[in-house]
Amino acid sequence: MPQQSTLVVAAVLLPLSGVLLCFLFSAFARGLFLITVALTSTVVLSLALNLPDSGAVRHLVGGWGAPLGIELYADGLAVFLLLTTTLTIAAVAIYGVRYFESPTQPATFWPLLCFLWTALNALFLSGDIFNLYITLELMGLSAVALVALAGGETALTGAMRYLLVTFLGSLSYLLGVALLYHAAGTLDIQLLGERLGPDTTTWIALCLITGAMVLKSALFPLHFWLPPAHSSAPAPVSAVLSGLVVIASFYILLRLWLEVMPEGKAPLGQLLAVLGAIAIVWGSLIALRQPQVKLLVAYSTVAQLGYLFLPFAIRNTELAAAAWRGALYLVLCHALAKAAMFMAVGNVLRFGGHDNIDDQDHSVQRLPATLAAFGLAGVTIIGLPPSGGFLAKWMLLEASVGARQWWLAFVILGGGLLAAAYIFRVVGLAFTEGSLAREPRIVPRPMEWICLGLAFASLVLGIAAVPLLELLDVGLPFGGAPNGVLEDESLSGVSP
């Protein structure tokens, strides 16, 4: 069995070599990418399987430690997100093989996707705030290029706006990093947590970083760039953007919140949670009014991202840890379900040539697997049992009630109802008869099956949660006690 630290390095190096190979030998890019997927998933899987035994892994690249060296840090939280990324990218790759089949499609899709993947893996494993900046920027640039792949005015202006936003976010983050380095003399996240006190420089820096991450995670009211970018990208790209890319900036915010933010952060947390709650309600209401399925799904992402910010309001460490477990589980379920939805929309677009909800042809009769996938993924997005989304939102709900934050509980339940409304709007209307706008194109079977498979996986996550939640707790990223042991006691201590 190879050492855990070797696996950590391989999780970044393998996709990176994949980028170079896919770029150099573009004729074989597809095959090379699939080989990269196979190798990297093996690495990430064995890393995840061994992590509960080995504990969190800290690796100094090339033997150089802080301040000049690069440190990789893999705890349960990081590896959990690596796993999420790998699953989603693998599904997108299988889908993309048929989606980008025709020779007119750009060959740059594969190296760009691989680059995005490298950046994501490196970001989740970064142990210092400057490497986070670099990986964040690499991720943003490849994501922008992927959006622009679709071509045409909508996609290009969507990509351009996305680039300006992501550039602005990175620069604000970098300014924050500069101030933090000045205040603490280190870039290492753990050391920062030990050295920083609640002084003005620190707070200005942390507010800059928080603002940048809120912008990049498209939290209300800074969500304006997300729907045009996500809805104009090719379907497999939208799947990655909505499921993974917005999560990366949320992850940075979460890491800093848990390890760096000094005392007195409660008002900021309250603000983030309120914005999250507004995002849930507002995003869902706007989703309800969208004329096109793809825009509806994109606004649904705005709403679902809101849930991730709710635990910021919970002050009790144990309860907050429980809420974070729920939020992270939602990240996984949402990534799979949202990927399935965007792929389903991709199939509908290919079949009928448009995705207007009001005149959906009887696509349900012609694309039963696709519509089933959309419905099943919808079950997770709404949060109905036995889906993974239900479990995640239940954990959030339980923690909110335990912390006596009734308004959070109310928002979580209301968000589910609104989600049900917009999901059924699509699923329901697809059954009505309509005329075909143009001759339907055949949708390859694998494209239907892979999105059904993903949707099904997001359901199964509701049943097979225990090992994943145990993985999430390795290294205690959220503080507090390991899952389930002391959590129940603290709950009974708080409730009447």
Binding site: A148, L156, L164
Partner: protein, 102 residues
């Protein structure tokens, strides 16, 4: 008023000027330039704060940060300019359309 303070205040000033330009102008080239001015401001802050103690040698880490940051900014600018030309070719004008009201 020491050097570090002058440099960092100038850097923050550039950052704010850039932010203003980004918000006010609609021509994409101006927006990209505004972002570059913001970037220069950030680099000035990093370099200006390199001397952490009054009589110590300047720290080497901020240099490394600025150099890496410049590389990233150049790459981002190149992508932005290429994309801007494509937008102009497709939409006729190098500007973003007004956002549709939600």
């Amino acid at each position: 008023m020491n050097n570090a303070l002058v440099f960092s205040l100038a850097g923050v000033g550039l950052f704010i000027i850039g932010l203003h330009g980004l918000a006010v102008y609609s021509h994409l080239l101006r927006k990209v330039l505004a972002l570059n001015i913001m970037g220069s401001g950030v680099f000035l802050v990093i370099a200006g704060l390199a001397r952490r103690l009054p009589d110590a040698e300047p720290d080497a880490v901020p240099d490394a940060l600025v150099i890496t940051g410049i590389v990233v900014a150049v790459a981002a600018t190149a992508l932005a300019l290429a994309l801007m030309l494509k937008v102009r070719a497709d939409a006729g004008i190098p500007e973003l359309p007004e956002r549709e009201r939600e």
